[in-house]
Amino acid sequence: MSSTANTPMSLPPRSDLAKGSESGIWIALFAITMSFAAFTSALFIRQASTDWTHIAAPRILFASTAVLLLSSVLIEVSRRGFDGKPASQIKEESEGRMLLAATLVLGLAFVGGQYLAWRELAAQGLYLATNPNSSFFYLLTGVHALHVLGGIAALAYLLAVLAARGSVRRNLVNGVVVYWHFMAALWLYLLVVICVRL
């Protein structure tokens, strides 16, 4: 029987409750990764069947990809802008705020781009149930767009809190930034999956 140390380990005190939002996002990313792994492995299995007709990805996707990547850069610049300040609270007057707003707008533009892509496919007579590839196209882009909309809602919430209270918790911003980058990376992966037939 070993004895246990008598001195309490130095852990962060309870007041760091707020740290939760950032770790919460990280944990959620694991779940999202898993979900998309499930979706795309279903796609890979489905691609092996004989009736797979590969459809060409609408051009607009590349434009919206550029928009999303740009937004990712902007939000990163915004985060670094906050980095220099030691405070755990981010103040309203920070210059990063405008960049957050710009990210939000670009995010909306990305979702709009996806909508145009769906319109383009529908114009070719390709709907959700038309063939396996179109099913997966709508499914993957749709579920991803939903997640991006979630990020947009979070950005809107950040901006609203900044405007109302004048400050917002630092780790909340960090969480949203991590989530946003992840959405961009996830999109690049999905784009490859959609365009390339394995």
């Binding site: 029987m1 070993s2 004895s3 246990t4 140390a5 008598n6 001195t7 309490p8 380990m9 130095s10 852990l11 005190p13 309870r14 007041s15 760091d16 409750l17 740290k19 939760g20 770790s23 919460g24 944990i27 959620a28 694991f30 779940a31 999202i32 990764t33 898993m34 979900s35 998309f36 792994a37 499930a38 979706f39 279903a42 299995i45 489905r46 069947s49 004989t50 009736d51 797979w52 959700l128 149930a129 396996p132 099913s135 499914l139 579920v143």
Partner: protein
């Protein structure tokens, strides 16, 4: 100033008003109780369904008075139709696996005790926590609604194998809106569990009290932590699978439905889907789900045993590492559900090995329990008896796993009652024994009153013996080749086995009836039970350092400081043979 800080850093203020206090509460303790109550409702329905099934199997043409009022087409004149039997089977499995075995040991007890055991005032995200319960509640309501629609509940089993589950009402009664409700319910349930798991992980990582290192956490906390990590990933797979199934059913896609199927004389308008894809996705979730049910049980039993033995287990660390390896291996074994399902025969062998290997950590845990009993001073309580009963069930259900893990034996035993006996023992009954153990153990903490031990013992003995009478003969039936999921036994070799089935049915009705003792005890003790002290079992972990029941903010605004791990029993402390985690006294080496 100090006081102001304290109340400020709590995630929420004390609840006011009935709705905030008892319904839409943010308090993890209330939410834990809500989960537990939901599981009780589900287990009650599930148990009644199993009675109806057992009754129908041995008296197939007997009228069950009044049943026709609930199921007009399912049981015309009170006689259960084949499809209604399958509806009962599907709903029994779904309710038990999702709403009982996941809800009670994991979400219920976990919600109540995980924050307390690590010295937190609440979960990391109390609002998510409340949402996760109410989402689960909605899922439950949606599922149960299936009983009351004209078409009746689905008949495709809790595994909902495609294409049976994907085609729609052509495939049979209950596969129209009944199956839709099932898929929707499970998808909603996944969302609830994802929110819950996220909360458990974040709470364990971020909110531990000062001095509460990971290795000082009680085994139960560890079990919930590991389980939530499994749940986070497993439900993240089931959710997309449900979405794909729903699209196949409602939007005409063909993820799981191949071409050229003729169902009810109608050629189905689908092409190119893969039925095996559903099985892979489902079991990729489904096998880890087994451990979502059983790991919290292992944790609860270890926690109760450590206390009842009045000495630490041989090694808590080894149990924790074993649970981790079970959690890890659980991702590599899903294919053992599919040995004869048309998967590549080579992969069957590949899946067989991790399946056999997973018995090693399970055996280690069992041997540690058994070895720890040696030289102990076992306190006889209903809680400890249920924990010991759990070990017995875990062993019984575990050894039958050896048969099913081998593809060649599975050729013969697959889809027989042997499988039914196996999973009911190891995952159903064992987990339920742990729930009982946890209930008798923690009831004083949760309500401030003791449960009646005499009734508890009576409940234990009937349940323990009854359970063996029900589930052990299932294995014998399986060895003869009795196929499961049959609404009645029309096969030529079955008359010889009917006496066994009758025995099982009578045992099931008796054992089921004994559960009313438990229900009564629960309600009676809640209002009339003896007042409980803060630490009636002389326990070491943090939940015993606060009043019973705990105040709204658990530690009354204090931040507990932890000096020891939770296993300081059989030592000389100032209060007896144990030293509490919060006690700063020095423990000398033996």
């Amino acid at each position: 100033m100090e006081e102001a800080l304290k109340s400020q850093d709590h995630a929420h203020a004390p609840a006011e008003g009935f709705l905030r206090k008892y319904v839409f509460s943010l308090d993890h303790k209330v939410i834990g109780k809500q989960y537990y109550a939901l599981a009780l409702a589900a287990v009650f329905i599930g148990m009644v369904l199993s009675w109806l099934m057992r009754f129908h199997l041995v008296w197939p043409n007997a009228k069950i008075p009044g049943l026709e009022l609930i199921a007009k087409t399912g049981a015309p004149g009170g006689i259960i139709t084949p499809e209604y039997y399958l509806s009962l089977l599907t709903m029994h499995g779904t309710l038990m696996v999702f709403f009982v075995l996941t809800n009670a040991p994991f979400a219920g007890f976990g919600n109540y005790f995980l924050p307390i055991q690590i010295g937190a005032e609440d979960m990391a995200f109390p609002r998510f926590n409340m949402m996760s319960f109410w989402t689960t509640f909605v899922a439950f309501v949606v599922l149960v609604t299936a009983f009351f629609i004209p078409d009746g509940p689905p008949i495709s089993g809790w595994t909902a194998y495609a294409p049976l589950s994907a085609i729609g009402k052509d495939a049979g009664p209950g596969l129209g809106w009944g199956q839709n409700l099932w898929v929707i319910s499970i998808a909603i349930f996944c969302i609830g569990q994802l929110l819950g798991s996220l909360n458990f992980i974040a709470t364990t990582l971020d909110l531990r009290a000062k001095g509460m290192t990971l290795m000082r956490m009680p085994i139960s906390t560890w079990a919930w932590f590991i389980t939530s990590s499994i749940g986070l990933l497993a439900f993240a797979v089931l959710l997309p699978a449900c979405l794909l199934l729903l699209l196949d059913r409602m939007a005409g896609t063909s993820f799981f439905i191949p071409s050229g199927l003729v169902v009810s004389d109608r050629l189905q308008n689908h092409a190119g889907g893969s039925p095996l894809l559903w099985q892979h996705l489902f079991w990729f979730f489904g096998h880890p789900e087994v451990y979502i049910a059983i790991l919290p049980a292992v944790g609860i039993v270890s926690h109760v045993l450590t206390n009842s033995l009045r000495k630490p287990l041989l090694s808590a660390k080894v149990i924790i590492y074993s649970m981790m390896s079970i959690g890890f291996l659980s991702w590599m074994v899903w294919g053992h559900h599919m040995f004869v399902s048309g998967m590549n025969p080579f992969s069957s062998l590949l899946f067989s090995f991790p399946t056999l290997t997973i018995t090693i950590p399970a055996t280690i845990i069992t041997l540690i329990w058994l070895g720890s009993l040696y030289g102990a001073n076992i306190q006889i309580t209903t809680a400890s008896f249920f924990a010991l009963g759990f070990i017995s069930m875990f062993v019984s259900g575990g050894v039958s796993g050896f048969f099913l893990a081998q593809p060649s034996i599975d050729i013969y035993l697959h889809a027989t009652y042997f499988v039914v006996g196996h999973f009911h023992m190891v995952m159903g009954v064992a987990a339920i024994f742990a729930i009982f153990s946890g209930t008798y153990f923690w009831f004083p903490k949760m309500t401030g009153r003791m449960m009646n031990e005499t009734l508890g013992m009576l409940h234990f003995w009937i349940t323990f013996v009854g359970t063996y009478c029900i589930f052990m003969p299932f294995h014998y039936l399986g060895l003869v080749g009795n196929v499961r999921r049959y609404a009645s036994f029309v096969d030529d070799f079955m008359p010889a086995l009917m006496p066994v089935h009758k025995f099982i049915t009578i045992a099931a009705l008796t054992t089921g009836a004994a559960q009313f003792i438990f229900f009564f005890n629960l309600i009676h003790s809640r209002f009339r039970g003896k007042q409980a002290t803060a630490n009636p079992w002389r326990g070491t972990s943090l939940e015993w350092s606060i009043p019973s029941p705990p105040p709204w903010n658990n530690f009354g605004g204090d931040h507990p400081v932890v000096y020891h791990d939770a296993h300081q029993y059989g030592v000389k402390g100032s209060t007896g043979d144990f030293v509490m985690q919060t006690s700063p006294e020095q423990i000398l080496n033996e």
